[in-house]
């Protein structure tokens, strides 16, 4: 077990380094954008004196390197500065919305992950049958359609025509949990449709890939029934690739939901990011990007650790 702990610590260290590099990229990418922030905030009508004054107030007259370290130092303590537009603290503006995004991602994941793995096992078992082909066509269609299109289709059929679910996923604090689930069902379903295909196909491929192994043939020659060959003999050895694709899709659920949030007017980080970009609210853009990057790295780290833990050779050393 000591070896595994060492591996995890190593990966964690690598993750921190990656995050540092990303923070540099984010900060200086924003820095490279044309135009002057102070000018942008004050508008075209501002006099040069007021612009200079604001620049000094915001610290923009200091060298970029210095400002980077100030920003990084702040970020480490959870202080991402102040929004240029509203004057609100960035951490406060983001935290509530990040929780909303996490909620939606969890909601979608709780439905999508079990469904896609179970479906993946079933299509692997029924490979090359009609069911396999239909499942492939359906999931491929849903993965190839843009998510905003899927969202509008769902709104059309499940909200406008039938009124089963609300078309707009607005939230309020006094909602019951059941009401919350009902109201956010359509955006969650859209996300489920987008990510299921990928995970299901990977599960199927990972299992089928193992079916030529001698130990699978051995299981069949022991008289093990086909479903048990797949579930007991193939699946436990297929976890590593499945975990990786699940992590990738979970990361997408958090960082890639911008369009879905816009379609359903859902108050998540994605919407905030879109607003901030259009209004040149750079502290918010930087903070969102950093949080997204950290999420991505953390999930991939979890996938790495997960694949290590599912490998019996590492779990039970000689």
């Amino acid at each position: 077990m000591g070896d595994i702990l060492q591996l995890v610590i190593k990966r964690l260290g690598l993750g921190v380094v990656t995050l540092l590099v990303i923070s540099i990229l984010i900060f200086f990418a924003v820095e490279l954008l044309p135009g002057d922030i102070a000018q942008a905030v004050l508008g075209q009508a501002a006099t040069p004196e007021t612009v200079t004054a604001l620049r000094e107030k915001m610290g923009l007259d200091q060298p970029a390197i210095l400002r980077y370290f100030q920003w990084l130092g702040g970020a480490l303590t959870g202080d991402f500065g102040v929004s240029l537009i509203s004057g609100e603290r960035v951490s406060e503006a983001i935290s509530g919305r990040f929780i909303n995004t996490l909620f939606l991602a969890t909601y979608a994941a709780v439905i999508a992950v079990p469904i896609s793995i179970i479906l993946g096992v079933i299509v692997a078992l029924l490979r090359n049958t009609l069911f396999d082909r239909v499942a492939n066509v359906v999931t491929l269609t849903s993965i190839s359609s843009p998510e905003f299109f899927l969202g509008y289709i769902l709104i059309l059929y499940l909200a406008v025509k039938t009124n089963y679910f609300p078309a707009i996923a607005s939230l309020s604090t006094d909602m019951s949990f059941g009401e919350l689930l009902h109201r956010t069902f359509l955006p969650a379903l859209t996300l489920v449709l987008v990510v299921t295909a990928h995970m299901m196909r990977m599960t199927r491929a990972a299992i089928i890939n193992l079916l030529a192994s001698p130990y699978i043939e051995m299981a069949r020659l022991k008289g093990v029934p086909p479903w048990k060959v797949i579930v007991k003999h193939a699946l436990p050895n297929a976890w590593a690739p499945i975990i990786n694709v699940v992590a990738l899709n979970l990361a997408y659920l958090i960082t890639g939901v911008v369009l879905v949030e816009v379609v359903f007017v859902y108050p998540g980080v994605g919407q905030l990011l879109v607003d901030a970009v259009s209004k040149r609210d750079f502290p918010i853009v930087q903070a969102c990007c950093l949080i997204f990057a950290a999420t991505f790295i953390l999930l991939n780290l979890a996938a790495d650790v997960g694949s290590i833990l599912t490998n019996p050779r590492l779990r039970h050393p000689k």
Partner: protein, 550 residues
């Protein structure tokens, strides 16, 4: 004449087809087979003879891409070719069991050995889990596995290959089947371990009076195990006879040629007088390690020009690691490699082109050692171009010349790709690639162990001829003592990273031996059907247990 009621398995005119190039091609052409209760039938033949396919068909099973296309398979009054899949499945594991070639690959890495063992008895409701586990331990005892009460609770990767093979035999016995198919169960093992497994299999089959089909390409092995031997060639039966009769008086030419295959032997060459000759390669006090694990310990030996030094030992003894040190792939942690009396830089990156050119390598798996997407002419031409700067028409002539040397027709093979070649032809291309660099020294790493005996014989003869023509020195890594006997001048015996004995071949094969050399030599199966019995008596059962844990 054995009464009909004792017949367990009767196969008549069995035909099996394989799917390739978008059509079904017959690969087994009407084989008959009769097996009585408690009888052991040996199926022998080269690869592609259809041995495994026939063995699996006896379970009513055809691999993906194969189908049973004709004939009948009657097992204990049941016609397997017309039995529905569900009923066939109920036979497998319970009444007919299978032991695969590589236990290491055939045990599921994700489950403990005993859980895989008890799977069938639990599924068939023969035993409850606890009973099945106790029974497994009992079988582990009988198969003389070390720590029989505990070994099953380990994962397959925590157990050695020979032990796994015995555990797999125990697993096949779990439901006390009437018939076991042994598919080359000892081919992947070292000779010393092979004896354990052979003895264990023979004992347990005797004890439970189980019938068996024993599939192998090794005549000496089948002679120990089988009551009757059937020889197969390209999906057809050549002949069948009781073991003694088959060994003493084979009637078919093909069988005779199989028997005669180990006849090639060339006289041993003497090492030149020390004073006027320097060795071409000299390994001096080399230590090497993978990470923290030390794998070579003070290894020293010399190879003189034009001579063949065979390096023998079991897997893990450090043979291939020594080769990696000589080629510079693994820099030694201590000691040095000398070439023509001059010290070589330890890392291949630091060696000159000429130093690299002088030492070439031929690999065990010609399949994976040749890039399948590159033409033969280019595979052979590249080293000539790289080391010798040969170009254009001259290069084409050189490639033709090399193809002539390895006895492949340049007109036919120049533009072909490796996958179009047979195993022996691929190995010849591997030899030509090594020759293309004009080396003075070639490392042959188990070059014949993946080949059938007749083909291997051809390769050994070719290597011998090339050695005479070009005064090449060979370092011949092998675990097969028959190969050593036929081609070596000197022998280096390695065990656990150390050289335990070295000297001229004839000396090595004459007693007295170092105890380890003796163990290796006496473990090589002989054609005599009583060899195993005699050997086990000589060694006594206790020493067997020890050898298993080596």
């Amino acid at each position: 004449m054995v009464p009909k009621k004792d017949v367990l398995l009767e196969v008549k005119d069995l035909r099996i087809e394989g799917y390739s190039d978008e059509q079904w091609i017959e690969i087994v052409h009407g084989v008959d087979l009769t097996l009585h209760k408690g009888e052991v039938l040996g199926l022998i033949g080269e690869s592609g003879a259809g041995k495994s396919t026939i063995g699996l068909a006896a379970m009513g099973f055809a691999r993906d891409g194969c189908r049973i296309s004709g004939g009948s398979i009657e097992f204990d009054g049941m016609e397997l070719t017309t039995t529905p899949e569900g009923d066939l499945r109920a036979l497998r594991g319970s009444r007919i069991a299978y032991v695969a070639q590589s236990a290491a690959a055939s045990f599921n890495p994700a489950h403990r050995i005993i859980d895989q063992h008890t799977e069938a008895p639990i599924q068939y409701r023969i035993q409850k889990r606890v009973e099945a586990q106790e029974d497994a331990m009992e079988l582990y005892h009988r198969l003389r596995l070390p720590n029989p009460d505990e070994i099953g609770f380990r994962y397959p990767h925590q157990v050695s290959g020979g032990q796994l093979q015995r555990a797999m035999t125990a697993m096949a016995m779990a439901c006390r089947p009437d018939l076991i198919i042994f598919d080359e169960p000892t081919t992947a093992l070292d000779v010393t371990t092979q004896i354990e497994v052979l003895a264990a299999i023979r004992d347990i089959v005797d004890q439970f009076n189980t019938a068996a089909i024993y599939i192998t390409h090794d005549l000496a092995v089948v002679a120990q195990m089988a009551d009757t031997i059937k020889v197969l060639l390209k999906g057809e039966e050549v002949e069948e006879a009781p073991t003694e009769q088959m060994l003493d008086a084979p009637s078919e030419d093909y069988t005779k040629s199989l028997w005669a295959v180990r006849s090639f032997k060339r006289p041993q060459k003497e090492r030149p007088a020390e004073a006027d000759s320097i060795p071409i390669v000299s390994v001096k006090n080399v230590d090497a390690a993978y990470g923290k694990i030390k794998v070579l310990d003070d290894v020293s030996f010399d190879i003189y020009p034009g001579m063949t030094v065979a390096v023998v030992g079991e897997s893990g003894s450090g043979k291939s690691t020594t080769a990696r040190c000589i080629t510079g792939l693994l820099p030694p942690t201590k000691g040095e490699i000398q070439f023509n009396g001059e010290s070589l830089p330890p890392r291949y990156q630091d060696r000159t082109k000429d130093q690299l050119r002088q030492a070439q390598m031929i690999y065990q798996m010609a399949d994976t050692a040749l890039n399948p997407k590159i033409k033969i002419s280019e595979i052979i031409g590249r080293p000539a171009q790289f080391y010798r700067g040969v170009r254009g028409a001259e290069l084409k002539n050189r490639v033709d010349e090399l193809l002539d040397l390895i006895e492949l027709d340049p007109a036919k093979f120049y533009n072909r790709y490796p996958p179009e070649l047979s195993g022996g032809q691929k190995q010849r291309v591997g030899i030509a690639r090594a020759l293309a660099a004009d080396p003075s020294f070639i490392i042959c790493d188990e070059v014949t162990s993946a080949l059938d005996q007749l083909v291997a014989e051809g390769i050994l003869k070719l290597l011998d001829k090339l050695q005479k023509d070009f005064n090449l020195a060979y370092m011949f890594i092998t675990h097969d003592l028959a190969t050593v006997r036929s081609i070596a001048d000197e022998v280096v015996v390695m065990q656990r990273g150390k050289v335990v004995e070295q000297g001229a071949k004839d000396e090595m094969f004459t007693p007295p031996h170092h105890p380890y050399t003796d163990l290796l030599l006496s473990s090589v199966p002989e054609m005599d059907p009583n060899w195993l019995t005699t050997l086990l008596e000589e060694r006594g059962t206790d020493s067997i247990g020890e050898a298993a844990n080596v």
